[in-house]
Structures are given as structure tokens and as C-alpha cells.
């Protein structure tokens, strides 16, 4: 058994010593209490719904979310809008469909099965509208950035007056959490920018937290199911391990040898 503990401590050392976190430049990100972290972590439903509102009213004018469908908004483990609400949300978007029997493309109100409507037709159009910078697709954005949710949360609140030794081109802004500190996106949030239906005060901090929670869900829509199954699986494995340990002791008691 002693050997086993040694073994697992070595495993942990190996993993820790190879962790990529060393490779990233160390910046202290802003911290907040994420409800989805930890063994039983779940999304805060109200925060997800507010986060969707921030996304759709603010971010969606430039950032696409091409891997999400409107039906996802009503699925368990997500913002869990009612089906009627999700249908209404979908119907508020114009979707290009077709060709019809005349060979023409046409627009119709969105359906649950439609993907989120994209703000631009293609990457080139997005770049042209944003001074050459492409606003990245947000579907898996939190997983595509080293600092994850903490990074996005900090970045949204990281806009500052540039220090005097930093010169900024037109359309470039200073953000203390951005890699290289220069960002092509103007500060997207300001206090009271959206009006929350549930009366929550829409401070920059609150909106940052809500929209980041929403982005975590969009990147990991099955996070809650994963945590729930993980807990059950690990408890099951631990119980089975204990039973097998005693069986092993019993079997090996027949021979003069240690296990």
C-alpha cells in the first residue's frame, strides 16, 4: 500500500511538472465564485438567462455562436428557457432558407432547430466590418483561451487608460488582461447597458459574470450531466476498490506474501 501512495504522488508530480500553466505568462485574473466549479458544480439558471440576454443584445452584433441551436436554450442543464420562450426567441430572428421550388432563397422566422443566426455572412465580411479583426466565434471560446472563464471575466473588466509608454493605433484599445495588452474590441460593457428582466442591477461586473457563465455553458453544454455522472462513477469505483481490496487480502492470505 505504501508503494501505491508513492506511485500516486509521483503521478501527481509528473502531471504538475508538465502542466502548461507554467508556459502561459502569469497574470493574476479577477476571481469570482463560479457556481459551476467543484464536484457538484451547476449553472446558476438565472445567471445563464441573463448571460444569454447580454450575449444577444451586446456580443451577438459581432460574435457568432455557430455551434449552438435555439433548441439548446430550452434543454436541461442550460438556461432552461421554457419551450415557448425558446420558440419566441428563435422566431425573433430572420433565417435565410431555401431554395424553394422556384429556386429562390427566402427568409422566414427562426425555428428551434435553427442554428444561432450569424451576424456576418462569412469571415471576410466580419473582418471588413471590424477594421480587419475577426471577432472570434464564441461557441467554445472559454475553452479556447488559456485562462478559461477567469480570463474572459477579467478581460471584460480589464479596459484601462493606456500607460503613457504605450502608443495605440486607431481602433486599438488597452486591456490589462489581453495577451500583449492590445485589443481591437472596444470596451463592450458599461453600467446599465442592458435592462435585466429580473431586476438585477446590470453593473459591468454583473454582466461580465453572467455572460461568462453563459459562455461556459455554450462551450460545455453537458457540464452538469458530467459532474453528476462523475460523482456517481467515482463513488462506485471507490466502493468497488475497497471490496476488491479485501477480496485480494483474503485470497493472498493463503500464501506467505505481502500485498
Amino acid at each position: 500500500m505504501k508503494n501505491l501512495f508513492k506511485l500516486f504522488s509521483i503521478i501527481i508530480i509528473i502531471i504538475a511538472s508538465n502542466s502548461y500553466s507554467f508556459a502561459a505568462e502569469k497574470v493574476e485574473y479577477l476571481k469570482t465564485d463560479w457556481s459551476f466549479k467543484g464536484l457538484f458544480g451547476k449553472f446558476d439558471r438565472a445567471s445563464l438567462q441573463r448571460g444569454y440576454q447580454v450575449y444577444t443584445e451586446v456580443c451577438a452584433s459581432c460574435h457568432s455562436m455557430k455551434y449552438l441551436s435555439y433548441r439548446n436554450l430550452a434543454e436541461p442543464g442550460g438556461p432552461e428557457f421554457s419551450e415557448a420562450q425558446a420558440k419566441a426567441i428563435a422566431a425573433s430572428f430572420e433565417v435565410t432558407d431555401g431554395p424553394n421550388s422556384d429556386g429562390e432563397m427566402f427568409t422566414r422566422p427562426g425555428k428551434l432547430s435553427d442554428k444561432f443566426v450569424m451576424p456576418y455572412d462569412n469571415v471576410k465580411a466580419a473582418q471588413a466590418a471590424n477594421g480587419g479583426a475577426y471577432p472570434p466565434d464564441m461557441s467554445v471560446l472559454v475553452k479556447a483561451r488559456g485562462g478559461g472563464v477567469d480570463y474572459i471575466y477579467s478581460l471584460l473588466q480589464g479596459y484601462e487608460q493606456a500607460p503613457s509608454n504605450v502608443s495605440l493605433d486607431d481602433g486599438v484599445y488597452y486591456n490589462k488582461y489581453m495577451y500583449g495588452n492590445k485589443i481591437r474590441m472596444a470596451a463592450p460593457l458599461s453600467d446599465g447597458l442592458v435592462e435585466y428582466g429580473d431586476g438585477t442591477n446590470a453593473t459591468v461586473e454583473q454582466m461580465s459574470k453572467d455572460v461568462t457563465t453563459f459562455l461556459m455553458w455554450s462551450a460545455e453544454p453537458h457540464l452538469e450531466a458530467r459532474h453528476q455522472m462523475g460523482f456517481k462513477a467515482i463513488v462506485y469505483l471507490i466502493i468497488l476498490t475497497i471490496l476488491v481490496y479485501f477480496s485480494m487480502k483474503k485470497i493472498w492470505s493463503r500464501v506467505e506474501s505481502e500485498v
Binding site: N3, L4, L7, F8, I11, I13, I14, I15, S17, N18, S19, Y20, F22, A23, L39, Y67, N72, P136, S139, V140, K143, A144, R145, G146, G148, Y179, A219, E220, P221, H222, R226, H227, M229, G230, F231, A233, I234, L237, I238, L240, T241, V244, Y245, S247, M248, I251, W252, V255, E256, S257, V259
Partner: protein, 420 residues
Amino acid sequence: MSEHDYRPKSKVGQWFNDRLPLLTLANHLTDYPTPKNLNYWWTFGGILTFCLITQIVTGLTLAMHYIAHADMAFESVEHIMRDVNYGWLIRYIHANGASMFFLAVYIHIFRSLFYGSYKSPREIIWILGIIIYLLMMAAAFMGYVLPWGQMSFWGATVITNLFSAIPLVGEGIVTWLWGGYSVDNPTLTRFFTLHYLIPFLILGLVVLHIWALHVPGNNNPVGIDIKKPSKDTVPFHPYIVIKDGFALLMFMIVFAFFVFYAPNILGHADNYIEANPMVTPAHIVPEWYLLPFYAILRSVPDKLLGVVAMLSAILILAVLPWLDTSKIRSAVFRPLYRQFYWILVADVLILGYVGAMPAEGLYLLIARVATAYYFLHFLVILPVLGFKEKTLPVPLSITEPVLAGSPNLAAARNKESKLE
């Protein structure tokens, strides 16, 4: 040998076994005499078999939903993660399973290094193992390309470009590997095909690896030859089966922790950005299990020599049984080797660490020293140690793993006589 005397009890069994001796094989596997003093470092063979089967089963399932096309691969992975039932579970098991596989194989290899399991008469087992390890690296590398993220694309570009270091034909070989003039759709489809093929090659080699093992039998922590079957051995079933099973469950707990609670911690964030040939990531790093070799590659200023050094670092292991001149297998009885062994472990960990760092300044210097030491260990220290080292007295059997004259010996003998 008792196994040759085996005869199934039933008439049908006998009829079948006379024509295809599968029952004899099953009997051999269950009765296989195993040294009874094997410690938990010996459980990783079973764990590795589990890893291989897990990768094959989850991989087959993923292949049913994955689309090997440069324009659709990334999206199809997101489709698996979002819309395929338990697709997220299967993919996270497969992705983390690769890391777990390498974790286990490194422990397995370093166990062999410590206890001298590669020495006569087990050289063929060892060499088969090295071939398996090489194939694992190829499979893992190609698997990492399939999601077609930024690290997939640029990792593939960097690694395939290594072949351009070959004089005269290098450039031609790279074009041939790519199926074009850059990493693109033809590269992806052939990597997918090979990624699908290699695990089955590994499976075949594993069968040979185990077959070759069953000729001399297992080495053991004392490192001496044992008579089998004898009081030094236990039958594989149930003794080793239950012990391997226990260790496997412990391993699965660690595995499950990664899959359910930190599924992306071992991967690189950039691989969630779709491949873009126009944008190079700031740091291109391979997966953690390839980092020591990546560090060796980058520590040599010349490209061709760097590739040679990296390949030699792996291939040198294949001739290890002849580089190690010591007659004593287990490091338990080799006080000097034991120290150099741990220095080598530290050296490889350091190489892994600097492999993840930018190749500049102090990191580059450390990488160079560590690379030099790696080769020094195998090419100088090991051959010389065999002649110079004063080894400790080795017991005659594993039931007497204590030195003659020690009071423990009498106690051990007492216990034995009681058993008999």
C-alpha cells in the same frame, strides 16, 4: 510442464481442443506461474491492456460520428460533444485515455529500467515494447491532429517538416507525406486512416509481447531466476488477476477524475480554435507525453542533427540490453545504479518541463545539459557501471530476499516451514 498435460474434462471440450487448443491456452493463462513477490509496479501491464482496449472501443465509437475532412472535422467534433448521446463522455475518455495510456507506459518502462527486466533472457520482450511505444507515439500524434484545431494543424506541420531535414530527398518526402504542398485535407484523411490502423498493429504486438513474456516468465523485484512452478510462484489466477484488478481500479479513479472533473487540463486551449493556416500560435507545443523528446529535438541547433538526436533518444532504448553490462538485474542490489536511475528519472522530467517552455535563454541551456546527460547515462554510465560497481549479495531465492546471516532470514525460513 503441466500445461502440456492439460486435457479438458468434457468430450466436446476434448474434441474441440484437439483441433484448436484454445482451452489449453486458457489453462496456460490461468495457471501461468507468476513470482509471488511482484509489487504494484508490475500491475501496469494489465493497466496498459485496459488502456488499449478502452482506446479502441471509444475510438471506434467516435469514428462513427467523426468526419475526416478539413472543412468539417472541427465541427464534427463539436457535434459529438453536443448532440451525440454521451458523445462528450466518449470523447473525453478517448482524449484523456491517451494521456493515461502514456502515464502507464512510462511507469511500465521505468519499472523495467529499475528492475532490469530488459536483460537476458527478456531482450525480445523489451524490443517489442519499444516498437509498441513508438507506434503509440505515432498513433497519439495523428490522433491529436484529427480534431483539426490550431495545435493539431501546427503540430502536424512542425512534426512532418522534420522529415525535410533528410538530405536530398527530404523535401520530396514531406510533400509525399502531406499529399500536397502543405498540411491539408489529404494529410488529414491519411492521418485518420493510419490512426485507425495503428492500434490494431499495437494489439498484435501486445500479443507477441505477452507471448515472449510467457517463455521466460516474469522478472521480479529481486531480479533472480526462479524455478516455476515452485513455492516462489503463484498461479496467475486468482492471485495476480485480483491484484491487477485492484491496481486497475485505483488507476480508474484517477482516470475518472480527469474525464469528469478536468477533461481539458491535459490538452492545449489552442486546440479549441479551428485550424487556420494563416495564423501561427505563439507557442507550438506537443502533448505532455512527447515533451522530453521535443526538448531534445530543440536543444540541438542543427535541424538534421536535432532529428537524429530525438530519434536516437528512443532507439537507444532498443539496444539497452547490450549497453547495460551488469549481470545483476534488480537495482535493489546495485547501490550505484540505483542513484543514477533516479538521476535519469529527474533528467527526463526536467526535459519534459523545458520541452513546454520557449526554447531560449536558460531553458535552452538546461535542455542542452539534460539532453547531454540523457545520452551520457546510456552510452557511458551504464556500460562502465557494469564493470566498476560493487553489487550487494543477491539471495538464492525470492523466499529469502534477505541477506544471509540477518536475523530476518531465520524468521522467513520459519514461516516457510510452517507453510510446508
